[in-house]
């Protein structure tokens, strides 16, 4: 597979060179499957196989781009895309800074996050997984909803500067399951993500749901008054919050554009709880590992918060070019955020419930619809189900 993709990129590179273009060519392929459940039935079973090409042409300070969802057998259309790019380039406006043209120093082939077994998952296996997680939890009143999505993503890049190619392939799966009671009007969620087939654990998800359903069916419902509470955020809620706060607060572009709640002089300062240690760690294959960014910069572990001290801003190439900074390998679709565990072992919701406590706490597993009210204050809103 990689040979076909690399051959295509080499042909397109040669075409671009023949047209006198200085260009970056990116190949993106998604082969994805989604089984969606609603009201305890499969409401949709779908798959998509899409190949897209992104071209960026550079001419000094001018830059234009062209994207296409491509028919993989139609090389002529792909060439036409380069023609369109060449037509656009003279009409572009020069930037006020020099954009970096990617020059790859070596070939990169990174398939650490690809699992052939997950890529080959069948409709029957997706259905069996959902049947297991639902187990005996459904009834006339309690209905199952959810999605099982999985797929393979392939990304590859070449620039006209030389023949080096960057090639990345990964698999991932995401399961969301919701059980809802029509009469009692509650919903409970459980989620699971997987990078390889062996990560999928339908029985584990079933156990989480069973525990929640038991409490929602047997415990008395309580309407909480508005006020301040001690809150425990589940892993998904913590990840959501960490993602939005790093995006708005810890990127160099946000800093220079006035969006960040952090300032340049905050680097090294104790601004968060000393219990927080957060790293962008591309070694972690489970969270979109990629060992080079789009400009060929090596991706390394990048500490963001160490024992509560903010460490450094992440600089993508364009922001670094514009503001005279050094890029940090962050021209990627996804960062790989890792927050270290702490001193307490809480592997499951059951463990959390069994912990000693001297007051009632709110457990928030997921945050729905988070949004930024005031980025410079780091103020966000969201709701829990």
């Amino acid at each position: 597979m990689s040979n076909q993709v690399i051959d295509l990129l080499q042909r397109l590179r040669q075409t671009a060179l023949n047209k006198g273009l200085q260009a970056l060519i990116t190949y993106h392929e998604e082969d994805s499957y989604l089984m969606r459940f609603a009201n305890s039935a499969i409401s949709l079973n779908t798959n998509e196989h899409l190949i897209s090409l992104d071209y960026i042409a550079f001419d000094g300070r001018k830059k234009v781009s062209y994207s296409m969802i491509a028919d993989p057998t139609d090389f002529e259309s792909m060439e036409k895309g380069l023609d369109i790019l060449a037509e656009m380039l003279p009409h572009a406006q020069a930037l006020s800074y020099d954009p970096t043209f990617p020059v790859y120093a070596k070939d990169v082939l990174d398939e650490r996050a690809f699992d052939p077994a997950l890529a080959a998952l069948t409709n029957e296996e997706r259905l069996a997984y959902f049947n297991t997680l639902a187990g005996s939890l459904e009834s006339d009143d309690v209905k199952l909803s959810g999605i099982f999505s999985n797929g393979t993503t392939t990304t590859a890049q070449i620039s006209t500067a030389n023949e080096h190619v960057q090639y990345f392939r990964s698999t991932d799966a995401q399961v969301t399951a919701v059980l809802s009671s029509e009469s009692l009007k509650w919903e409970v969620n459980a989620e699971q993500s997987a990078q390889k087939k062996s990560d999928l654990d339908a029985e584990g998800l079933h156990a989480d749901l069973a525990l929640l359903v038991k409490h929602y069916q047997e415990d008395e419902a309580v309407q909480l008054p508005v006020g301040k509470y001690t809150v425990v955020l589940g892993p998904a809620a913590t990840a959501e919050l960490g993602n939005i706060m790093t995006y708005y607060g810890m990127t160099g572009g946000a800093l220079m554009q006035g969006y960040s709640f952090l300032k340049e002089e905050d680097q090294g300062k104790l601004l968060f709880s000393e219990k927080i240690h957060l790293v962008d760690d591309p070694r972690e294959v489970e969270i979109y590992a990629q060992n080079a960014d789009r400009f060929g910069l090596e991706r390394k572990p990048f500490p963001l918060i160490s024992e509560g001290r903010f460490q450094a801003f992440m600089w993508d190439q364009d922001s670094a070019d514009e503001f005279g900074k050094t890029p940090t390998g962050h021209d990627v679709s996804h960062t790989s955020l890792v927050m270290d565990g702490g001193e307490k072992s809480v592997a499951s919701l059951k463990d959390l419930l069994e912990m000693d406590r001297d007051e009632d706490i709110l457990y928030v597993p997921y945050i729905h619809y988070m949004n930024v009210v005031n980025p410079t204050q780091g103020m966000v809103t969201g709701s829990s189900r």
Binding site: I42, T46, E48, L50, S67, E187, G258, V372, T376, T381
Partner: protein, 484 residues
Amino acid sequence: MREKIKEQIDLLKAKGAHYVDARWYPREDSNFLFMWNGNLKENNASSQSGMGVRVLYNGAWGFSASSDLTNPNAIFDRAFDNARIAAERVTFPIRLAEKEAITGSFTSPNQVDPFTVGLDQKVAFLQKMDAALNQTGVIQRFGMLEFVRKQIIFLDSEGSEIEKNIIEVFASIHAVGIDKDGGMQRRKYSPGRTGPTRGWESINETDFLANAERIVSELNQVLVAEDAPNGKMSVILLNGIMFLQTHETIGHALELDRILGYELSFAGGSFVRLEDFGKLRYGSEKLTARANALEPNSPGSFGFDDDGVPAQDNLLIDKGILVGAITGRQMVEEANAKAKKQIFEGSSGANRATSFYRVPIERMTNINIDPGTDGSLEDIIANTKYGVVLDGDKSWSIGSNREQFHFACDIGWLVEDGQKKQVVKNPTYRGETLPFYNSLSAVGDESTWNVHYVENCGKGAPNQIMQLGHGVPVCRFDNVQVGE
């Protein structure tokens, strides 16, 4: 290609499919330009083509899509196989509401195809806007132009054959500053409906320049303003926030797939129940809302939905009472069966897909609030004892069943004893949907009503982004929690 599609549809029918449809996109083009502080950061063109096939077999849907059209049979076969598997777990066999076989076409109203306009002209427009925004107090300024042109051929096993040629134009300008307390503030202008057509001619330079001056002036007032007050008071929502209030707490709440639980695992559900139709007092008698896909010149008007149902104008809320929903062919059948009575007479023609590679789902068309009889904005302010006038969609968080909400706005003006006073910054308000709409105490007349475009409504798994509109007047709500 049309003949090949018809052959495949007939073939799957012969194999036992109850229904088959195909949406073939021979070509979809888009053009996006983004200028930030004078730098043309994005100058992108894109194109796509492909086909999506939907098959109903033994009461279950299968869907498949591909950009590879060298062997369209493979797409049909995959969709059929997907439906066969889905049919193994069916609790309510899918049925589709009746519709006539339709041969028709729709073309978006436009005079100048934006794809015939040179890049130089588009860049020059953004440069002018950038220069207009480059004033004291503005630390970040940006302008966007987005154009989409797509051809969609729809064929189904019931004999429908529809061609749509759609052009979309979206433009906006933004000004950002830092206030006296170090907080980021912004104002933006994104024109609503300015005329009968939406080609390049709708990019009205004079209008944009006037609004650039306005938003810079308003931004500078916000930068030195005090915070909005906290407490319960009247809020007077201008178009720039009323559209979003309508979108989030009427539009999404009344999508029938959400009401029936089809979006629980992603976008969420709705507090509305089937038994509520015809009875639930959603708002005060001043509230009349409709889904009007016949509204001239709006992205929420598209001729025929992706079930092949003609566009319609339907009441959703009539003088405060819930009477309708946003529906497609599948959901109305299921809702009527579950309610054991006929709530819906047929599809309201609102099943739409964002692209050939996504399946159609219930989407808003133009979800409008009818203008009222409480006069102009000035009249409403004159009749307000204490409150704030609010504008600008800064931030929003909505309960997953749309039962409560929190909005932050870009700007507010204090109102005391019928007088519009000084600008206030960081205004927010929150509420619960039904009490909020029941506190609707004034609805502006035609002079306050305009169609606001939405270019990025997200819903569905896999996710889909849809374009639509909201025709809304200025509205006043009383006893609303402001601040916090």
